[in-house]
């Protein structure tokens, strides 16, 4: 509530676009465990051609201690959740008596490259799927198990596991072909002002990245780092959970995690980050 009042005041005073403090993203390179070299700055993706001069990972907008936490798998508390998911991976569940490993063996091999291309089109299901949707589909159809809650810790941890083995690989989400309708819908959502504060995603993340919104350092809003271990709540956060929070903060009626609107938005936002390395699980504020 109080944050919103301040932002309204800011906007009406024009302070957010004029004379607000600007802090450049930090010059630094990210190498995880001294091994995985990450691309955290790169040329604009097709989706942002002409709109952003370059792609910058959210990592550059955080303080030095936070950035250091992500550089080591031990310091990165998001990896605890990956370890928990690893246990789940090898635990049979559901009436078919299978575990993920029964079909997929070692995730380091079978899941390499997967996170980088999601959300994507699923031919058999005739729909765009996010990783969460695909994991749950595997559970219900192949394992005869119950689906997990869309933003539940257990599912987010599994997505983090699948993401972790693709770290360093460039995000490469398709935007044409069968997904193009969804992609365009996502683009429209991104640029549509909503809520009492009449803000669109672009107002902050495209027009004002690098500026301070009160004490937060605005990033370009990419999702290559998801799921994210946030210092704020000391746990992993999924893309849709974060979208929901952002929409709520503009005092708009938010969509539900797993909804077609958020799937479309995730597809579009992911494509904006095409070229940045998959970082999930990353560490942010």
């Amino acid at each position: 509530m109080r944050i919103i009042t301040a932002i309204t005041a800011l906007l009406s005073a024009g302070a957010i676009t004029a004379g607000a403090v600007h802090a450049d993203p930090v010059e630094d390179t990210l190498v995880i465990n001294g091994e995985i070299e990450m691309t955290t700055r790169t040329e604009p993706s097709d989706a942002v051609e002409g709109k952003l001069p370059e792609l910058i990972s959210g990592w550059h907008f955080r303080g030095s201690e936070t950035r250091a936490m992500q550089a080591d798998d031990f310091d990165n508390s998001g990896m605890i959740f990956v370890e928990n998911a690893m246990d789940d991976w090898y635990t049979p569940t559901g009436d078919a008596g299978n575990s993920c490993a029964s079909c997929h063996d070692d995730p380091a091999d079978s899941m390499k490259g997967v996170r980088a291309v999601y959300p994507k089109w699923n031919e058999d299901a005739d729909e765009v799927r996010t990783l969460e949707m695909q994991v749950n589909a595997c559970r219900t159809e192949n394992m005869e198990a119950e689906p997990l809650g869309y933003t539940s810790t257990q599912l987010t941890s599994m997505v983090a596991l699948i993401s972790s083995v693709s770290r360093g690989m460039p995000v490469d989400v398709a935007t044409d072909g069968p997904v193009s309708d969804m992609w365009e819908k996502g683009e429209e959502l991104y640029y549509t002002r909503t809520g009492q504060l009449e803000l669109s995603c672009a107002n902050c993340h495209e027009d004002n990245y690098g500026r301070m919104i009160r004490a937060d350092h605005l990033s370009q809003g990419h999702i290559n780092g998801f799921p994210v271990y946030r210092l704020k709540n000391s746990k992993l956060n999924s893309v849709h959970a974060r979208f929901k929070g952002c929409v709520r903060d503009t005092r708009a009626e938010t969509f539900a995690p797993g909804s077609p609107e958020f799937v479309a938005l995730e597809l579009y936002v992911a494509s904006r980050g095409n070229g940045l390395s998959v970082e999930g699980p990353s560490v942010r504020n």
Partner: protein, 109 residues
């Protein structure tokens, strides 16, 4: 009974006699501070890990008294001397009476 509490330790597997090694420890635990309120306005009672110890072959390296101001998923980094081959033993004591342990063996290089 705290759920899903999982200790993690980073310690070298081998060292030379008398070598200084860096130890990192992490344990997943909510560290409920006793300051938060639930949606009905009732205070959620404190439930934290209040003590962490590290020993090597029975001798103390560090003994930490922990208060609610230690963050969720308590993290410690410190240095130990390894006089001989043996075991690091890590112990975390929970308010609710649970004790979590982890052991790491170190061989002589």
């Amino acid at each position: 009974m705290a759920e899903n509490v999982r200790p993690r330790v980073k310690a070298p597997r081998q060292a030379s006699a008398g070598e200084t090694v860096t130890i990192k420890t992490l344990i997943s635990h909510p560290m409920e501070s006793g300051q938060r309120k639930d949606s009905d306005g009732n205070t959620i009672p404190r439930s934290i890990i209040h003590r962490f110890t590290c020993e090597f072959n029975g001798e103390m390296v560090v003994d930490v008294t922990m208060e609610p101001a230690i963050s969720t998923n308590p993290y410690f980094e410190f240095e130990a001397v390894v006089p001989e081959a043996g075991d690091f033993k890590f112990t975390w004591y929970d308010d609710d009476g649970d004790v979590y342990e982890d052991t790491q063996s170190v061989a002589m290089a």
